[in-house]
Symmetry: C2
DNA sequence: CCTGTAATTTGATCCGGATCAATAAGTGAT
DNA sequence: ATCACTTATTGATCCGGATCAAATTACAGG
């Protein structure tokens, strides 16, 4: 997906500039008054780079920090008793990770890097201190969780009432839109996840996902070369995906 | 579902005793230190009783209070562009409602009473004041949202990988367990929602839900008389439902 | 209690997506 | 480049659940 932060990798630990971060408008500080953003910034640490396949979060591990992906992409999933993966979704830069951990203080699912990944972290004890004195941050945390919840509900609803091609179309449309908001070309990207990952995310088999790609290609809506995707007819995809539910 | 609070309906507005509420251990105050629970209590108002079919929450309406169902049950749903209902789930006493509203300040979905329903409300401005000085409540709100998120993720995962009878089995097992935690008989209850509601919740048709009930009845796991359900073999249901995913 | 209407069950058929199977295209290491 | 291996495409068949269609059972209102 060619996702890379434009900042220079410093290696420093607690020296992060949210101010100059390209992701600021998508991230927590983008919704905070200036002085609150400053205060938050001082609590943010930079996590070290992770290689593809490495775990950013392990299910059951103590939630000791709030994590936000800075560059790269990741896969959120749970491992079922049968040992299969339940893929909850994919994480792009500026998105927080492991929020379900607030439920118990331990993460509820796994998050693995799909590409070289860097991230920011706010240690929990610092977060709690900040929440004590920053009303904007309090609101922002609730907003963030509310948004994640809303998203999860929407995704579930879609699973329940959309057919295979519709799900794949929406997956692509959604990805496209999220890339666009991050300043990446929305109609020309490389998928960082396998067909199997997409399939497990959408409650389909990888064959069905592959066939959906094939159909879109044949219709002239998409150009597919393995994981390189070009969207030629975003309107057609959006139409098939169906509009997000209203009301 | 025969859900009724044991408290006498007072009609008073801001005179609620969380202390003596049967739902306390399931509700917000149950997780707070005593003096924080007191402070919260003083901000809680009693909502007026709603008749079946009435809306507790309308999608798009301004989220002016945190709502918790006190007695009765409700249906959470969204209305799609085609006018169909996407049923997100069902609400039992002690459960908060409309939490996705934190995302935007407006509720994201509808909540309708399925039975005569009463509820408690904490006005948003009072909630914000309390959050300023109650660290336990801050943690509790994050926990509540984290839990809702975790729940939504789990439900989505199940949709993606469980077949029709498994979904119905899990629906019943889940309901049974939630009733038990509220002190209701877990193996003998009346469903407050229609087959169609269950179907839309599980991403099935009402015929398929009905057939699943039929199968369970024939197997001797269930006694079904319209909406009256007796669970005869909870173990069998739980087995079919499959264990919740681990890790 | 009866009656009309809505909710539920049951039956018959059909189709989308799963499954099984084989081929083809990437990808990384030597 | 070549080889070994993983990932993706394509094909054939099968089955679970959707859809269409009655028949039956609850239930609210008179």
């Amino acid at each position: 997906m060619n996702i890379r932060s434009e900042e220079i990798q410093t290696g420093a630990h607690a020296c992060v500039s949210c101010r100059n971060c390209a992701l600021k408008p998508l991230c927590l500080p983008g919704h905070l008054p200036v002085q609150e953003a400053r205060a938050l910034e001082s609590a943010v640490e930079r996590g070290r780079q992770l290689a593809p396949g490495m775990a950013l979060v392990r299910a059951g591990a103590s939630m000791d920090a709030l994590l936000v992906v800075r560059s790269g992409s990741a896969k959120r999933f749970s491992v079922t008793l049968e040992g299969t993966e339940q893929v909850h979704g994919f994480v792009l830069p500026g998105e927080a990770v492991g929020l379900e951990g607030f439920a118990t203080g331990r993460y509820g699912c796994e998050v693995n890097a799909l590409e070289p990944l860097s991230y920011c972290r706010v240690p929990m004890h610092k977060l709690e201190q900040l929440l004590e004195r920053l009303p904007g941050l309090r609101r922002e945390m609730l907003r963030l969780l509310g948004q994640a919840l809303d998203e999860a509900l929407r995704l579930r609803g879609e699973l329940a009432e959309t057919d295979a091609r519709g799900r794949v179309a929406r997956f692509l449309a959604d990805l496209s839109e999220r890339l666009a908001r991050r300043g990446f070309p929305p109609y020309d990207f490389r998928l960082s996840m396998s067909r199997a990952d997409i399939a497990r995310h959408l409650g389909l088999t990888l064959e069905t996902v592959s066939r959906a790609f094939g159909t879109f290609k044949r219709e002239g809506w998409l150009r597919v070369r393995a994981r390189d995707i070009s969207v030629l007819r975003p309107d057609a995809l959006a139409a098939l995906a169906g509009a997000p539910n209203c009301a």
